[in-house]
Symmetry: D2
Subunit: 368 residues, 4 copies
Amino acid sequence: MSNVWGRNIKLSIFGESHGPAVGLVFGGLEAGMVIDRDRIRFEMARRAPGRDDISTPRAESDGWEVLSGVLDGRTTGAPLCVVIRNENVRSGDYTPHLLRPGHADLTALIKYGEHADHRGGGHFSGRLTAPLVFAGAIAKQVLERRGIKIGARIAQIYDVIDAPIDTDEIFAISRKPFPVADDAAGERMRQAILAAKADGDSLGGVIECAAAGVPAGWGDPFFDSLESAMSSLIFSIPAVKGIEFGDGFGLASMRGSEANDPLFMREAVAPGETYAERAAKVGVTTNRNGGINGGISNGNPITLRVAIKPTPTIGREQTTVDLERGETVTARFGGRHDPCIVPRAVPVVEAALALCLLDHATACSERS
Amino acid sequence: MSNVWGRNIKLSIFGESHGPAVGLVFGGLEAGMVIDRDRIRFEMARRAPGRDDISTPRAESDGWEVLSGVLDGRTTGAPLCVVIRNENVRSGDYTPHLLRPGHADLTALIKYGEHADHRGGGHFSGRLTAPLVFAGAIAKQVLERRGIKIGARIAQIYDVIDAPIDTDEIFAISRKPFPVADDAAGERMRQAILAAKADGDSLGGVIECAAAGVPAGWGDPFFDSLESAMSSLIFSIPAVKGIEFGDGFGLASMRGSEANDPLFMREAVAPGETYAERAAKVGVTTNRNGGINGGISNGNPITLRVAIKPTPTIGREQTTVDLERGETVTARFGGRHDPCIVPRAVPVVEAALALCLLDHATACSERS
Amino acid sequence: MSNVWGRNIKLSIFGESHGPAVGLVFGGLEAGMVIDRDRIRFEMARRAPGRDDISTPRAESDGWEVLSGVLDGRTTGAPLCVVIRNENVRSGDYTPHLLRPGHADLTALIKYGEHADHRGGGHFSGRLTAPLVFAGAIAKQVLERRGIKIGARIAQIYDVIDAPIDTDEIFAISRKPFPVADDAAGERMRQAILAAKADGDSLGGVIECAAAGVPAGWGDPFFDSLESAMSSLIFSIPAVKGIEFGDGFGLASMRGSEANDPLFMREAVAPGETYAERAAKVGVTTNRNGGINGGISNGNPITLRVAIKPTPTIGREQTTVDLERGETVTARFGGRHDPCIVPRAVPVVEAALALCLLDHATACSERS
Amino acid sequence: MSNVWGRNIKLSIFGESHGPAVGLVFGGLEAGMVIDRDRIRFEMARRAPGRDDISTPRAESDGWEVLSGVLDGRTTGAPLCVVIRNENVRSGDYTPHLLRPGHADLTALIKYGEHADHRGGGHFSGRLTAPLVFAGAIAKQVLERRGIKIGARIAQIYDVIDAPIDTDEIFAISRKPFPVADDAAGERMRQAILAAKADGDSLGGVIECAAAGVPAGWGDPFFDSLESAMSSLIFSIPAVKGIEFGDGFGLASMRGSEANDPLFMREAVAPGETYAERAAKVGVTTNRNGGINGGISNGNPITLRVAIKPTPTIGREQTTVDLERGETVTARFGGRHDPCIVPRAVPVVEAALALCLLDHATACSERS
């Protein structure tokens, strides 16, 4: 069980879907930073359930209490503890003897035994992404002051694909209530979700995410490539099953002459400069490598795409096991759930990317 | 710079493409294990360059010297240090003022300055995968004694796709000199590589990898999912730009009713068993989730696919910068290189998966 | 700022002396463990302030709320979050412009700047040892089920030294309200504390701690010796300035022939046993090395002694700086404090030792 | 087995006393640093055996080979691998069935079984401090360029105590062949060692170590106090059994009014300065806390003392076990060894302190 993440920041999360609360302890934040509560509220609302007909009817106000690390509205340098109470808990919906296919019910039972908290997925629940988004909202504030911005959009839901965009459009799209470039495609996505919901079914999709303003030189060979750090955190998000950077799997069917991003001198050089000084003036004309070469940022936007599987909880009849009877059975599962988690996962992927970049940006606290 | 990997095992690698040697220090191995030198030789040969017309003509015997951790042919429990000397070094091929597009030349220069070892990619070179394969060969020996086997195949090179297979076929295919299911497809891949080589160009591809026999229950929420651990290590391999588990990106265009792997009782249950005991008798009829639910192994084979970009070094003319002149120029790059790294990367991906599983399998050494 | 500790367990602590709460998030606990609330209450009471005339008059009920990780009185395997509210907060006692000598006031100000929470030492306060004792109480429960018991006593306060004991007496002494072997010496210690209190002064001391039942074979060369792990955690406790294992500094003035613990066969050997099997039957006749050789437990009790400096807060006039006036001044400091922290530190040292042993005892959760 | 140390630097060590070599892999060094080979040679010579009549007659030239990480005499930013061959190996001296009291022979056998390398202590040997001193010599070079200097002296051998000194004298004393302040005391120490040697016995002692120039603000609450970090690494050195910072155990018998280091304004303040700016101008008049408050450096010299136990290998008859016969026996042990390891341990303690400070000084490599 590792509930702690980060090399320079230390993020612990805790809680279960149907316990008293979820929350986080966030160590390694710089002292003196003003906490923008509106910004946190905005990000939490993007992830919050119960907003419309395509998300779960479980409504949570996601109000929070800060227990430590803040004094007079500013961080103190001590760890920040935030508690987000669970309000709308209906444990009666869950039946521990009927394992839900595609969920962690089986693996949690094998790993933790009878005493795992099975209610609503327990600690495996998507509810745990609420503290992640909270922490990400703080991370974004720090990064924005350093000129780094992060955005994401829905690139695909089921068979509906959003229009292609330039990377710098993603930051505005990201703030839309339904973050797609082509609203007509967005409407088709919503219809697909409603159709799946009507069938008691669910849909998967793809989220595209980008970060602009990341300085060249972040990431470390051999084992701490930026791709390693980012993929590791993003695969913690429930339902993520794939990730690709830049053109990703598309690079597999390219030739090197297509895949290599050509270099050019962005600025005039001066006599006597070192190669390293001149290297800081080099740009790339395409970004097929997603802003990363040799595991290290090259100064271009970092781009990545994440595959989200369909919500495992569906209302349709499924083949599964009844542990009480010890038999293979067919069953329908109730419980409130999202027919498609992709829209609510957009701010979660952004939060993970923000946390990963903050971890790189954070000076080990010994140095000033 | 993090050259160390692992939570329970501790693998350090070192070396540069054109320095005296590459090598590894491998801590956390159990004591008393017989080192199978033939097995190591077999795995090293699978990765070795210079074997045929589709790989780099740089020949390396990849002979090695064990400096510590072994006594009378068995591990002692102390860290194993292995040195693999570089023999066929021709540094004269490299021109530090001309940055190679798609390589780490630019980012290494920005990160480490003038004193980085640029020769042949230095520490960023694919040559560093030799110690990884060495360590992986040892990891496979430990895992095989525990009933875990690992295999990989070339699933795609450029536009040629290998035939679909059942997961359990992959272990035999893996040992073929050119590891594909359909040898005719394999021949088309080779022709595509030779055609690219003739054009002074290179090709990318996809590697599929699987592990059978992994017990249910490995992996940890929230931040140490198996996907997190595996993707992190696999993205350390140079040229990897994407990874997906199970049906991965394919799940994005599925409904939940297709994506959920149905459960069934594999064995009869006995009266009085706990749910946890019965859970150990549950199987899945499909494996779209790649053997992992909620970040934890479910006992089914773990399956994953890795996107490999085309070798960045190509002989064709490219647009790049000349740091000496401070200008954008066109240039051709010599140096020996593989027109397609995918075949030699197959044992490297296997090695990374083996190391990741060994790290999970390894008891913290305090307990017996 | 690292507020997280442990390799196999993951303990995060948070809070400030005068904030809303202190608390902990405790990951890596096994599932299904019954939480003994009386045991926790007993340990918390040992550390609690305000019990008598030799501790601070700041009374805290140290009531707590469990927010996660427990269901029906048992651990679920998910991280345990516990919040301990601060009740008796009187921030008005503190004057940030007057630095208290011997405290972290100066270093916290340099490290975190104006926005550090200076009130009562903030995150540096001894109040943070309350979550440590809570976590230690749980750790002790796990260890006791494995046959490991932990005890500590006051070995010295100022110039009063407790009587020498056999190690196995320490476990009973540990439970006494004033844990010394010789109650007459204890009474002299109390008188010394009261005398110092009357002078507006404070006293230091030495705590002796032992763990019996630790299996041989815990600890790892080269960098994870048991002494390394234990000292690292124990030096996190405020006011600790020295640690020694076994005869510690006393070994410096011995000859090898005195310092080496003689070995003997505890049991008869059987024909055909390996050396390793016979090694399990070897005992030592003395314990000058404190149960540890080569950084690894040898099966004997682990013994250590910890030097605690006098409470830095004293009522007597001291030379210090007034940052408002920018001058060296003399000042007296109010605020409630302990004239000698040693008695309340006894359960804290035990807790640290328990946590360290639990971290070694805890199976990496992947294995069963 | 953890053979890797460091948060920002990554030091791996390997080797056994009687294997082919010992060595290190040192990641996280800045690029472009000139390696001063004379300085390394000087430090290695201070630790080297066989120099005179009070150390082991096992002579080792301690020549080394750099396999990676250096190009044209400067670090490249890639990990440095150094191999130090073992030359003077006489394994015949060792008898695995006779356990040496006070050594790791018993615990290594229990932990690693029959296959541990018992020859000369194997991986537990003091020979492993050679790579530590090598790494420390590099660390000192980096630190000295930042104005940090490190020194140590022999404070005590057996019952002979060196004269008291001011901390700033230690740096010159440190470079003496026999590093004591009072050469007459040094001569008595040498005589005591020779007397013990003549008896086939050995002696322990105390090493005092200091670092000057460490900036205020290094170290992190709650779990990464400077004392935690330093003690953890120093207890990795074989034979260390105690450590104290500042007045350490002496503080236990003080009153707070004696133990608190008084503060004063070192410089005049200017109007409008913040408290934090003024804090940088505060000094202490004594250094009883050893330069550390609240786990954080206060700008004063860091001072610590380390207890070294007598060399366990002695020629006198001892009670031990014969595992072959399965009996308690008396035995004398041959093998070459130091009658007192303290003089040779002086540079090792310095090296550990230097590495610990370098780890704090090292910027996480992502930031420039």
